[in-house]
């Protein structure tokens, strides 16, 4: 406790400042600034080589590339800030695309959407219950679920399957003006999650549970319920990503989620967006910024035709550097390491 103790008399100024400042926290602004900086840097780099980075087409491509990862990552941020983790999203997305495409081939789009969301809800529920009920560490629990899903996929599918009708492919390809419709889906879901996490009781309880589960429980928060709900929301987001990918791919693919490593990529985007991996701090707005940074980087690499292997090196460095910067910003004398 000593470390927590302050001489109160030195505090009023800081408190006053704190009170005056609106709520959005440092990392969120930081990551959006970083996205801007990367864009400007990319623009300069590409321009130096005689290219034109800031074209409408390119901007649209960047935004389009945000959608799939964005959908997964905003869901992932909800579990992460609730103090959990979901490593099963990649396989869930693969399975989601397959179920979506197969159901659409034989039935209606509506049934397919319901089926995928039901599947994802079930998996999310299972994840949540394993984590809270059986008290299995989230890392292992969701890794286990991932293995189970993987076996299921490999046992039942021998490759791309199903067919998505043209009517549903609009989600993947259509644009309103220059803006892809799928982007609206992402923005809508992000907005809904933002509202949920920031403005509803559930959201407050998520931050509380992620910040200090014991304290939250003692305060009467139904922490288990909260974590289960977070997993549910995350899986539903993965379901949305699966539906989007199905619309875009026109079929289901067993590697739709895994080749893109949506599990680790989404976590990377989440922490890039300033959400603390330990939970309790951060939010979906930052995550969206993190996704944008990754997408802009990708686009810059594309334009400069950087070796794909080298891209990974840069991504690794960017992720570590970003989190190191946040850690610096957060380092306070009373920082508890426990």
């Amino acid at each position: 406790m000593t470390a927590l103790r302050h001489d109160a008399s030195t505090r009023p100024l800081a408190e006053a400042l704190r009170t005056a400042r609106p709520r959005p926290t440092g990392p969120v602004a930081g990551v959006w600034l970083a996205a801007l900086a990367v864009t400007v840097a990319g623009w300069i780099a590409v321009a130096a080589r005689g290219g034109d980075f800031l074209t409408v087409t390119n901007a649209v491509t960047i935004l389009q590339n945000c959608v799939a990862l964005g959908l997964v990552a905003v869901g992932q941020s909800v579990v992460v800030l609730s103090g959990s983790l979901d490593l099963s999203v990649a396989y869930l997305i693969s399975l989601g695309t397959l179920v979506a495409a197969e159901t659409m081939e034989s039935g209606s789009v509506l049934v397919a959407v319901v089926a995928v969301l039901a599947l994802c809800a079930a998996v999310g529920l299972a994840n949540g219950l394993i984590v809270t009920g059986l008290k299995v560490n989230a890392f292992i629990a969701t890794l286990g679920t991932a293995f189970i899903l993987r076996g299921w996929i490999e046992d039942n599918y021998t490759g791309p399957a199903g067919k998505v009708p043209a009517s549903f492919q609009h989600l993947g390809y259509d644009r309103i003006g220059p803006v892809p419709v799928s982007l609206f889906l992402l923005l809508a879901i992000t907005a809904a999650l933002w509202l949920t996490t920031r403005r509803t009781r559930l959201g407050h309880h998520m931050y509380a549970t992620g910040g200090d589960e014991h304290a939250a429980r003692l305060s009467g928060v139904r922490t288990r319920r909260t974590v289960v709900t977070a997993h549910l929301l995350c899986s539903l987001c993965a379901g949305a990503a699966a539906l989007f990918l199905a619309a875009r791919l026109g079929a289901g693919a067993p590697w739709a989620g895994t080749e893109a490593r949506y599990d680790l990529e989404s976590i990377a985007a989440v922490v890039l967006g300033g959400t603390a991996l330990a939970g309790g701090r951060g939010g979906v707005a930052g995550t969206l910024g993190g996704v944008l940074v990754l997408a802009v980087l990708d686009s810059v690499f594309n334009q400069l035709s950087v070796d794909p292997f080298f891209k990974n090196v840069v991504r690794g460095v960017v992720i570590i550097a970003a989190v190191a910067l946040y850690a610096r910003g957060r380092r306070t004398p009373q920082e508890r390491t426990a």
């Binding site: 000593t2 109160a8 509202l195 509380a208 910040g211 939250a216 003692l218 305060s219 306070t332």
Partner: protein
């Protein structure tokens, strides 16, 4: 209002509570006392909905309740103020106050109402140093306690359980808390007050229930009893001299540690000298810099200015490791967080320092650990037991053993007996005295003035980060407080 009857609870076959009954009336303070392991915490946790009892009933206003989650206890009008606060550091005061029962409008959390109500409640308690939007991690311990109380009040509690509310407070803050408690009872709240400090208990309570070994020994009306009776009921025997005798007037030994002009961001102008064989007490209000002084001497939050010598050699430790090498030891006030690796065995904890800072002539074998544990009079089931299963007193003994293993020359104690039961307390006091007699220089920080006065050969008093004065052995509590509060210039609102 509240009645508990025949409450029993076992953990893994160990009976922790057996047929305990208790009742609480509106507007009364009912104190619950007992040694460690007497079952007070379990009883409270049952009341809080953290544990469900194996047997027994819990009746509130005639309705029988059985809680399986804290939320249900809250709904029934029970509020708990935990000794280790249940606050979220990175959320605002208002968010903490309404955590678990946020007011909503159109399904969304109604921030404005939340902040308005919080501000009102803070105003009711005359707390001006906190705003609803302050983040909790910026608050001092005493203010966090206020937030906890506001939190309980915000849920319209009628029964308030306070677990060692003064453990982390300095005496003058305790007075403030007592005043607060009286205001709450005046409003008709029933308060179950759990404490080790008999002074407050007698100050506040109408009745006192004593628990021992999971059973209720007696319930006394405070007015008709005295401290000796209560202590006897708690320990089941007479306690002899409360503090071991001082060394008496003898030549203090050589100078072991000196500081000149020591300071850092929290404390300044520290000049002191510790000699072998003496016990020096440090008094001061919460936030006066007592713990900072100890941590600075130990290099945990090092001095940034001034000079320091240890054993005659110039050394200003920049990290604990350097202090340990120089023969300084620090028993911190946060035993669980800073003193022990809870999941490790007694042996591993006792050997932690010697393993981390190996030096010749120090024990690092189990055989010598046994001797050490005997030395600190540890009552444990075995040296292989994990320390998390020990009582607070025994845990503290392990911490002391850990430092004795390193053969220190200067021993710093920060709140050595906090959360320690009466028996272990006496053992620790005796041990401290013995160590001083053997030639160690001892520095003790304690919020409990009787202890400090009883133990110390001289008392340094801190105020606002400085050494405000020095008093000889046997100084009165009033004298100490006068210096600690800066003479007549009382520090209003400092805590």
């Amino acid at each position: 209002m509240l009645t508990m009857q025949g409450v029993s609870k076992s953990f893994l076959g160990v009976r922790v509570l057996e047929g305990v009954g208790l009742d609480l009336e509106a507007g009364e303070v009912h104190a619950l006392v007992g040694e460690n392991g007497a079952g007070k915490s379990t009883l409270m946790k049952i009341l809080a909905g953290e544990h469900s009892p194996d047997a027994g009933t819990l009746t509130i206003d005639g309705t029988v309740h059985s809680f399986s989650h804290p939320a249900q206890a809250q709904a029934a009008g029970i509020g708990i103020i935990h000794q280790e606060f249940a606050l979220l550091e990175h959320r605002t005061v208002a968010e903490n106050v309404f955590l678990g029962r946020e007011p909503t409008r159109y399904g969304l959390v109604d921030r404005r109402t939340m902040e308005r109500r919080t501000a009102e409640l803070l105003a009711e308690l005359d707390e001006t140093g906190i705003t609803p939007r302050t983040s909790v991690h910026e608050l001092s311990v005493a203010r966090r306690q206020t937030v906890e109380i506001v939190k309980a009040l915000a849920s319209d509690v009628r029964i308030l359980v306070m677990d060692e509310p003064t453990a982390a407070l300095a005496d003058h803050e305790v007075d403030r808390l007592c005043a607060l408690v009286r205001r709450l009872t005046a409003r008709g709240l029933g308060i179950l007050y759990v404490s080790h400090r008999l002074r407050e208990v007698f100050d506040l309570s109408r009745r006192i229930t004593v628990l021992k070994d999971g059973r209720r020994v007696t319930t006394l009306v405070t007015r008709d009893t005295d401290a000796d009776t209560v202590v006897r009921a708690m320990v089941g025997r007479e306690l002899g001299a409360y503090y071991p005798p001082r060394a008496g007037p003898q030549e203090p030994g050589e100078v072991r540690l000196t500081v000149h002009g020591g300071g850092n961001s929290r404390i300044s102008g520290i000049d002191l000298a510790l000699r072998a064989g003496e016990v020096v007490g440090v008094a001061g209000l919460q936030g006066s810099g007592r713990s900072c002084l100890a941590r600075a001497l130990f290099g945990a939050d090092p001095f940034t200015t001034g000079t320091m010598t240890v054993g005659g050699e110039e050394l200003r430790p920049a990290r604990p490791r350097e202090a340990v090498r120089a023969g300084i030891a620090l028993v911190t006030e946060d035993r669980k967080g800073e003193g022990l690796a809870l999941h490790q065995s007694v042996t591993d904890n006792a050997l932690l320092v010697t393993r981390a800072v190996p030096a010749r002539g120090r024990p690092s074998v189990r055989r010598e650990v046994t001797a050490l544990l005997e030395r600190v009079r540890l009552h444990a089931h075995g040296a292989d037991q994990q320390v998390q299963y020990l009582s607070g007193g025994n845990q503290q003994k392990v911490v002391i053993a850990k430092w004795l293993a390193a053969r220190p020359r200067v021993l710093l104690f920060d709140e050595p007996t906090r959360g320690v039961d009466v028996g272990a307390k006496a053992a620790i006091h005796t041990l401290v005295r013995e160590l001083a007699r053997e030639g160690l220089a001892v520095l003790i920080i304690s919020s409990e003035l009787p202890e400090l006065i009883g133990m110390s050969d001289r008392i340094l008093v801190m105020s606002e980060g400085r050494l405000a004065g020095e008093l000889p052995a046997g100084a009165t509590e009033e004298a100490v407080m006068r210096v600690a509060t800066g003479g007549d210039r009382a520090r209003e609102g400092a805590a």
